[in-house]
């Protein structure tokens, strides 16, 4: 079983991101579970959402505390200890940031990568400058970064789930896939 946790702020599309990711994994024949952690529901408040997948039905129903992957939708959350808390040793962290991972002050033993999803989203007209909607614009990069789901499955899931501005969301997914810089930083040791 693989566990993925997405951190964002209300309005950035974290919940939709989990649905698209889960749908993509489902289309590849996986058993999936996608669920939000509903806090106080307001725009701008930090939110978390979760995806689990496995080869067989998933019984576990609690939140995700030791994720294999963490995706951070909001650059301002990148330095937050809560965001990478419990990230498994050898796991992966993908951040929406214009900075390289070395400049984010990360501590832990995991692979890290950045993609400027806000910029990609704005270029394709997704959301506003104050509040870009980056959920699709980060999932293309996640497909490449994690290698657990194919770009085509993400695109199929976007086509199936996102009724408005479908084509530009797909373009954002493609651009995000292409713009992820490889190879990524590996093993940023904790500096305690």
């Amino acid at each position: 079983m693989i566990e993925i946790r997405i951190h964002g702020r209300g309005g950035q599309g974290a919940v939709v991101a989990t649905h698209v990711l889960a749908e993509a994994l489902f289309r590849e024949g996986k058993w999936v579970q996608a669920f939000p952690h509903f806090g106080v529901e307001r725009r701008g408040a930090p939110v978390a959402a979760f995806v689990r997948y496995a080869e067989r039905p998933i019984e576990l129903r609690c939140h995700i505390y030791t994720p294999d992957y963490v995706i951070i939708l909001d650059p301002t959350l990148a330095g937050s200890p809560a965001a990478v808390e419990g990230l498994r040793s050898g796991g992966g962290l993908l951040v929406n940031s214009s900075l390289p991972p070395e400049e984010l002050g990360l501590a832990g033993e995991f692979r890290a990568a950045c993609v400027d999803a806000s910029n990609i989203a704005l270029k394709h007209g997704l959301g506003s400058i104050a509040s870009p909607i980056v959920n699709t614009a980060i999932l293309g990069a996640f497909a490449r970064f994690s290698n657990i789901v194919s770009l085509n499955s993400i695109i199929d899931a976007v086509s199936g789930l996102i009724q408005r501005q479908t084509e530009i969301n797909i373009q954002a997914v493609r651009e995000s896939y292409e713009s992820l810089k490889l190879p990524v930083i590996v093993e940023s040791k904790a500096s305690r």
Binding site: E23, F26, V32, A34, F35, L60, R61
Partner: protein, 386 residues
């Protein structure tokens, strides 16, 4: 067709497949998306039903009771305070023998205000005469709504289908969606015994004197008890049609277990996850999930738990001044007149959305196996902040 849908979408899909004719519901978190989706189905014509807008949950139930009295299949859905507001009419609808089906998305009752899951809303309605099911997956939610209509209309008793707030209501997972023709075969059109007809007026449920009232109540009681056997038949027929079988209780590795955990709803899934891990260590642990809570399957539970040395009940609802609600029922099943049985302990957790961790369930097993009677209180709280 298999699709990725949430628990709330599973409810509205089942209601559509059941060809319900009248729906009334008042929005309340986390039930709201059920009412929204059903209202969309009605306005788009995907479901040929009247969606009647109302000003409260009390009115929602009153409305579907009226429609049910006129002989049509009806549905409503609510949560928490909304269910509490229906309380008076919950008694009335079961006494009037109206086969209304309701989905209740489990949510804590205030104060303090809380929108997250526990079972206090529906378990505090246990004496209203409604039959109750607690589901563990989105698939089970869809299937149980279909089973609920067949059962309700067979024993003329309303049925409440429970799904854990957020943990099922807002969780997307793969669900097999049956074909409409398949559902039509399993669930034919509702045949009422009596229906209000303006051309042939009658009075129903008028004042009933002490000479007759008890007989009405005794028949209602018998119907609710009889619902246990009928639920088994309906489940068997459901399995024949759809290939998925639902027992009234679901036992997992109980046969040779020394310690059995009892749970209802999604916590049972996390419980089974823990049981598998403990079994790998050679521990003789099992889990019993109570799926049908009303009628309470006393004999089945006594048989399944009777051989264990210890039983630990996970309660997500507590009766202040008494004990956990599920615990009371399970103990009552185990200790009938003159009987002896396993030691039984009560654990309360998961109130108001407190996440139920595998470690809590491991702690239950550790405590009952090592602590025994001496180390445990009448009610034991898990996961409290110190």
């Amino acid at each position: 067709m298999k699709a990725l849908i949430t628990g709330n979408e599973a409810v509205s899909t089942a209601v559509k497949l059941a060809r319900v004719e009248v729906i009334a519901a008042y929005p309340i978190t986390p039930q709201t998306s059920i009412a929204e989706k059903l209202s969309q189905y009605c306005s788009s014509g995907e479901l040929d039903a009247d969606f009647i807008k109302v000003e409260s949950e009390h009115s929602a139930l009153a409305t579907v009771m009226g429609a049910s009295s006129a002989g049509v299949r009806t549905f409503t859905a609510t949560s928490s305070q909304g269910l509490a507001l229906m309380h008076e009419l919950l008694h009335w609808s079961s006494g009037a023998r109206l086969p209304v089906v309701m989905a209740n998305v489990n949510r804590a009752l205030g104060a303090p205000w809380n929108i997250w899951c526990d079972h206090s809303d529906s378990l505090s309605q246990r004496d209203t005469g409604w039959l109750q099911f607690y589901c563990e997956s989105c698939q089970e939610v869809l299937d149980t709504v279909l089973i609920a209509f067949r059962l309700a209309e067979s024993v003329f008793t309303p049925v409440m289908v429970m799904l854990d707030g957020y943990i099922l209501s807002h969780t997307a997972e793969p669900v097999e969606i049956p074909e409409p023709e398949q559902v039509d075969r399993f669930l034919p059109k509702y045949q009422p015994l009596a229906a209000i007809d303006p051309k042939d007026p009658h009075t129903y449920h008028a004042v009933t004197s002490p000479e007759y009232f008890m007989e009405f109540k005794q028949r209602q009681f018998e119907a609710a008890r009889q619902a246990e056997a009928v639920a088994r038949e309906v489940s068997a027929d459901f399995a024949k049609q759809f290939g998925r079988h639902y027992a009234l209780t679901e036992s997992f590795m109980c046969e040779d277990a020394e310690t059995i955990i009892v749970a209802a709803g999604t916590s049972a899934g996390t419980g089974r996850y823990v049981v598998r891990r403990l079994r790998e260590q050679g521990r003789r642990v099992g889990l019993l999930r109570v799926r049908m809570f009303r009628p309470f399957p006393f004999e089945e539970i006594r048989t399944l738990l009777g051989g264990a040395a210890r039983v630990a009940v996970l309660d997500q609802a507590i009766s202040p001044g008494s004990e956990g609600v599920l615990f009371q029922e399970v103990r009552s099943a185990l200790y009938q007149a003159g009987g002896s049985g396993p030691e039984i302990y009560d654990f309360v957790t998961g109130l108001g959305g407190r996440d139920i961790l595998p470690s809590y369930i491991e702690e239950m097993v550790e405590k009952v196996e090592n602590g025994g009677k001496a180390g445990l209180a009448r009610v034991n709280w898990l996961g409290l902040k110190s």
